[in-house]
């Protein structure tokens, strides 16, 4: 009788540990996504500034700038899902990249102090996003491993935990953009 009691206690203990570790991993994914979100927001906050600066010099690029502004208003809507956030983040990055390329055609814009400062801030934000994204992916790997490996997978199944998606790096990001070249 005592032995059975002991076994039950041990099993109970193991279950609690498994449960807690899964919850911890799940929360870590959530926190990591929150830090990606904070960094993405920072980038969206830069957009009005970028638009107003570029507008003054690059008069023919209205369409691109309008698109960018639209993206921002979509992204800051609190009701969008995480997947949408990730997708919009990718698109915004691409659009901002386009603007930096466009800037090459406007020497006055490229030389303006304001624009150079904005570029620096943008570079830093991109690095912050990349850092947060990497942390998020590490947390997702941790979590996914736990819910697929025995024995935590049994528990994860009971708790209804599902595999989380990675925040993939864009091709451009993988190539380690040499942003230094942007400063002529």
């Amino acid at each position: 009788m005592v032995y059975i009691g002991l076994i039950v206690v041990v099993i109970g203990f193991i279950f609690i540990r498994m449960y807690n570790s899964l919850i911890r991993k799940k929360n870590q994914v959530k926190n990591a996504f929150a830090s990606v979100d904070v960094q993405l927001k920072k980038r969206y906050d830069l957009i009005p500034n970028i638009v107003s600066t570029v507008k003054n010099y690059a008069t023919h690029e209205k369409e691109t700038l309008t698109k960018l502004t639209e993206m921002r208003s979509k992204a800051i809507n609190p009701n969008i899902s995480n997947e949408e956030k990730i997708q919009l983040g990718k698109e915004t990055k691409q659009m901002l990249g386009n603007i930096m390329v466009i800037a090459e055609n406007y020497p006055d814009l490229k030389a303006s102090e304001n624009f150079v400062q904005l570029q620096r801030t943008l570079n830093e934000t991109e690095e912050q996003i990349s850092a947060a994204r990497r942390f998020y992916n590490t947390s997702v790997t941790d979590f996914n491993n736990a819910i697929m490996m025995f024995p935590t997978n049994l528990m994860a199944g009971m708790m209804g935990f599902k595999e989380q998606k990675f925040f993939e790096a864009e091709e451009a990001e993988r190539q380690n953009v040499d942003a230094g070249k942007l400063f002529g």
């Binding site: 947060a132 990497r134 942390f135």
Partner: protein, 309 residues
Amino acid sequence: MKTLQEFENYYNSSLLPDIEPLEKERIKVKNRLLIVLTIIAVLGIGLFMLTKDNRAISIPVFIGLVMYSRIMKGYSLNFKDQVINKIIYFINSNLSYRKSSYISRMEFENSELFHSFNRYKGDDYVEGNIVDDEYLKRTGKTRSIHIEFSELNVLEDNDPWKINRTITVFKGLFFVADFNKNFKGYTKVVPDYKLNLFQGHNRVTLEDPEFEKYFQVYGDDQVEARFILSTSLMKRITDFRKKSGRKIYIAFKHNKIYIAIRYSENLFEPKVFETLYDFEIMKDYFEDLELALGIVGDLNLHLKIWADD
């Protein structure tokens, strides 16, 4: 940075003619040392024969050590002025060299890389600004970062396990420079031991498998550690580790980067029994200095494309 070929040309054209008096001094010092060595040997053997006691030898050995350091001191200082100083100036004329100074104890403690020591000394201090040549060429504007490094020898006299009388906490080159990104917390990169206990910070597991093979990262902010250790910096640190072939410790704090490179030997010291006319020996001094000064380029520290304060 200068290439080895450039250094060889410099050595042949400028350094070699200048070190002739020093070479003469070296021969004199060498001869004096040989005489001292002979006397000590004779004295030691004589004393041992007389007393039949091993301990008797310690007296002439002690005298010998005192004489050795007295004879070497003057030569060593001259050597550093005339050889090391010139090599540094040749590599980068913006740098200044102070042979008897070293990185401040405060700076060393700031890095939080090594703890519990009671003796702190060093020499061969180099300091100055490294200008980004490529940026200067492209924009006509000057951009530079401040660096300093020196040799350090940090010891602890009280071994808690009482195995040795003194423990070497750190010996080698200690390098400090401005870092090109702004950050608030603390992050450190230490060699990967199977058992790294008591690091006092959270483990940060990074994605680069080669980097993770050599190092372990600890820090107080997971995202910030990744912001500092970008994919390209991890690669550059791994390459630097492979190039140097030494144990490397790196800390990031207060917008500075601290790099400790372990050496077992003393650096930038004269070799009195070998001629100064041998380029191979000069090459070693040059390469040790190049390794330290090359850190800026190797880790791309002068690339400042991020926001200012």
